[in-house]
Symmetry: C2
Subunit: 146 residues, 2 copies
């Protein structure tokens, strides 16, 4: 952890929880709640300050998913290349977020860059649609729960 500052209990706890999340995304509130459940007295502002710092350092990545008000964080993959094959699918019905590794996205990215002169940033991009479970339900029930 490229963390220049002091080593504190709170930092360790937060980093631990982030590690637990692994490849999965989380919000500041998620971390705060997990801390609370663990009996830690760590406050909201500390969580935000840590997440901010880690994001600036490049350890985390921050993104805002359309529709939700709170920002999501996720461990940043080591380098750009690792992230190139990674994209996010969000179900408009149940709200699930899927992480998919796929080489086809690479082709698409290259094509867009080459033929359309646009560099796609997959860390900021989310594909919206309907997951398998909700695919059928979509037709009958149009109630949006984002």
């Amino acid at each position: 952890m490229a963390d220049g500052g002091y080593r504190t209990k709170q930092k360790a706890e937060i980093l631990d929880l982030i590690g637990e999340k692994g490849d999965y995304h989380f919000t500041a509130a998620d971390i705060a709640e997990m801390l609370r459940k663990k009996g830690s007295g760590t406050g909201m502002s500390t969580v935000y300050r840590m997440l901010d710092k880690l994001t600036e350092e490049g350890t985390l990545r921050r993104y805002v998913i359309d529709g939700s008000s709170a920002a999501c964080y996720q461990i940043a993959m080591a380098d750009q290349n690792a992230c190139r094959h990674h994209f996010h699918l969000k179900c408009l019905n149940c709200g699930s977020l899927f992480h998919v590794d796929c080489e086809l996205i690479d082709k698409l990215t290259d094509h867009i860059a080459t033929d359309h002169g646009f560099t796609v940033d997959h860390s900021k991009t989310v594909l919206y649609g309907y997951c398998e479970k909700c695919r059928t339900a979509e037709n009958s029930d149009k109630g949006d729960l984002q």
Copy 2:
């Protein structure tokens, strides 16, 4: 305007201002300020309610650009059918929205549906990144101006 409700002065004013923005994006606060400058007494909640409704109708598209706190809106020009083979590319730097027709999107869509069990809705999906003009600028100037 596929607006099922009543025709009111406020609606007309807001739609007018949105029209003035043309292809360009704006926030709720932008609209509110423009209204204020025009001497309109239209309130914030009315603006939000209109933007919400127009977004639901598909007339507008809503984005949350990473880093900024307020949501952006922009006229969604094309209809569902036209958008099927259609990418939306939004530049994170200059805010331009590009519409790109490309057969590769079909391959990607099919692949995701078949192999990942997820139906992508392209009318709701925007790929974020940097356009040709901003691509070089991004490297030299890392200061985010969203």
